[in-house]
Symmetry: C2
Subunit: 356 residues, 2 copies
């Protein structure tokens, strides 16, 4: 029986629609009998259907951060000019996920999903639901960048422009190991119980340890040294010490999430690799890309460091490396800093302004 | 009853002697009824007693790495010229530690120990046992650097030269949080049982998770990307993949260690802070230092980054920043690279050659 988790509702996450794709066969051999994608759209598709922007989501994220932080009139991602489609990734809690699935694929029975599955599902959704055959831009951060890379390699004719923020085309060994520590933090909690629990609260200690590892690697040494957290504000909660910021911001951020959903996404993240299309040859895979491509790592990112992203960018014909600046490291993606958002908007506006 | 752990023996660690300091009162209020320091010495103390070098040990380490990797004729730390005293830190498994203690302070009853306790104990040892009143050099890495900083601030008249490798005078919030994840990996194992276990194997899963977090933060993204591990050799074991290197090198490295010993050292690490001498004023504390001081961070260190070390170095009169280069990050301390060892030897030789 699905778990009724109030965190994964429009009341908490903002409006979205569920689109059914029917039976969906996965690359690893599993099947989702009726794949539902949770989709939020902003703006209108024009008659030529050439003003569509696709945004896939990151690990543990939903469309909400994009809605509240990145999309808006006058911004690069401007709904008065573009039809912006944010698709929640499979397993993220809103699209079909372990805790919403029924029957054999419920909970621990949820099949392995790959980045390529998300991208195929998104392509089907855009074509069948909206009649979109080409995208003006695909942009995503972190696991959203993994999906953006996959789009640009798998469907080069359908992607006019691509912007990969803080994420790689081929997941690194370091990130595989990092992600494993996040997963082990959850699965080592006896309350996880092999994936069979009644609510995320049963796995509270595991989710707490998972959040605490994010505090170390997801942010940055400079974030903590500079006490950047003093400037972060939430309604109804304050913090005077770094421990309080961890306890009152980072831990609650993850506490409501579904443990199996996090594990499903983490498994997928560990195996993101566009070179699966070319027998392991990364250069050949990236050489396929025809989109105008900006690769946008964050300078303080501790696990997608700019040099790893630069190595991939150099393999993409005509692409550019644009390093973003955020003291929050990978979590700069949350858009804590106006300077970071202005910088990103500048790059995306320039990219959207390029002729293709 | 003490745990008989074969890992903490001269057969495994190399020769050392236990020196009793008698009753030892700790800064946090606890008492060790008969503090034993495990001490390894190399070379001879000269008549003037002015050729002594002190080396305190790092987290989870013993004198062994110094013996095998850093000390040798023709090296900077040359036992034919210097009397080199490596003192195993309290709680490291060789000096008095939770699993070797008896009575009230055994196991989980082991009292909190601070960096300052180690330094006071070392000062007493050197004075009472060897009649050493001044040190030609104190040098240490990581928690050994924390102790070196403490020496230079607490006993400025007794330290002629100081070299702090990959460690800070005042522990950072980031490192506090990082260390906590290491501790939680252990204490979350039901086998830890509140500190009451029969052998480290009972806490095997916790020690494994602890090692896996080290794999992510203790090494570096570049270590994993470059597959540096292919060049690391051990007798009787090989690895062909990065997962095998983790499983066969990193996990066994920690599997034999005593969980309570690691927790005792981690608690101490979290709270290293020379500003305790000056009411929280770090600049005032570091301004006390009269030793000729080289601060030696490692360029790829993910949790003692050079800029954090540089900020402290700038507060030490007449000191120098010498950045070391190791793709192994913090674990560069193990001396995997001849280039790193040559670089460090060069700096230490130059430091030892300075007139004071």
């Amino acid at each position: 029986m699905p778990i009724d988790n109030p965190f994964y509702t429009p009341e908490v996450q903002g409006a979205y629609e569920l689109h059914s794709l029917g039976r969906f066969e996965l690359e690893e051999g599993g099947v989702i009998p009726d794949l539902q994608l949770a989709v939020a759209t902003y703006g209108e598709l024009n008659e030529a259907k050439d003003n569509a922007i696709l945004i896939p989501t990151w690990f543990s994220g939903t469309h909400q951060t994009w809605d509240l932080t990145y999309i808006g009139e006058g911004r690069a991602l401007d709904p008065s000019r573009y039809f912006i489609v944010v698709v929640n990734q499979i397993g993220n809690g809103l699209s079909t996920s372990p805790h919403t699935a029924e029957g054999e694929i419920a909970m621990a029975g949820f099949p392995h999903v790959r980045i390529g599955d998300d991208v195929r599902a998104q392509e089907q959704l855009l074509r069948e639901t909206f009649g979109i055959e080409r995208l003006a831009l695909v942009v995503g951060g972190s696991m959203g960048a993994q999906q953006t890379w996959e789009w640009a390699v798998r469907f080069p004719d359908k992607v006019q422009r691509a912007a990969m923020i803080a994420g790689t085309a081929q997941n690194t060994p370091h990130d595989f190991l990092f992600t494993q520590t996040l997963m082990d933090a959850i699965t080592s909690d006896p309350g996880w119980n092999g994936g069979d629990y009644a609510s995320p609260a049963d796995v509270g200690e595991g989710l707490r340890r998972h959040a605490d590892i994010w505090a170390v690697v997801g942010l940055s040494t400079e974030f903590w040294r500079s006490e950047f957290w003093r400037g972060i504000e939430l309604p109804d909660v304050t913090w005077d010490t770094f421990e309080e910021f961890r306890d009152r911001f980072l831990r609650p951020t993850f506490a409501a999430m579904d443990p199996n959903a996090l594990l499903s996404m983490a498994w997928k993240w560990q195996r993101g690799d566009v070179a699966r299309h070319t027998g392991g040859d990364l250069a050949a895979a990236l050489g396929r890309i025809t989109a105008t491509t900006f690769v946008l790592p964050i300078d303080e990112d501790m696990f997608f460091p700019p040099r790893d992203c630069a190595r991939e960018q150099e393999l993409v014909p005509g692409s550019e490396l644009r390093v973003l600046h955020s003291v929050a490291g990978h979590f700069g993606l949350f858009g804590f800093e106006e300077s970071y958002l202005a910088e990103l908007d500048g790059h995306l506006s320039e990219l959207l302004g390029t002729e293709v």
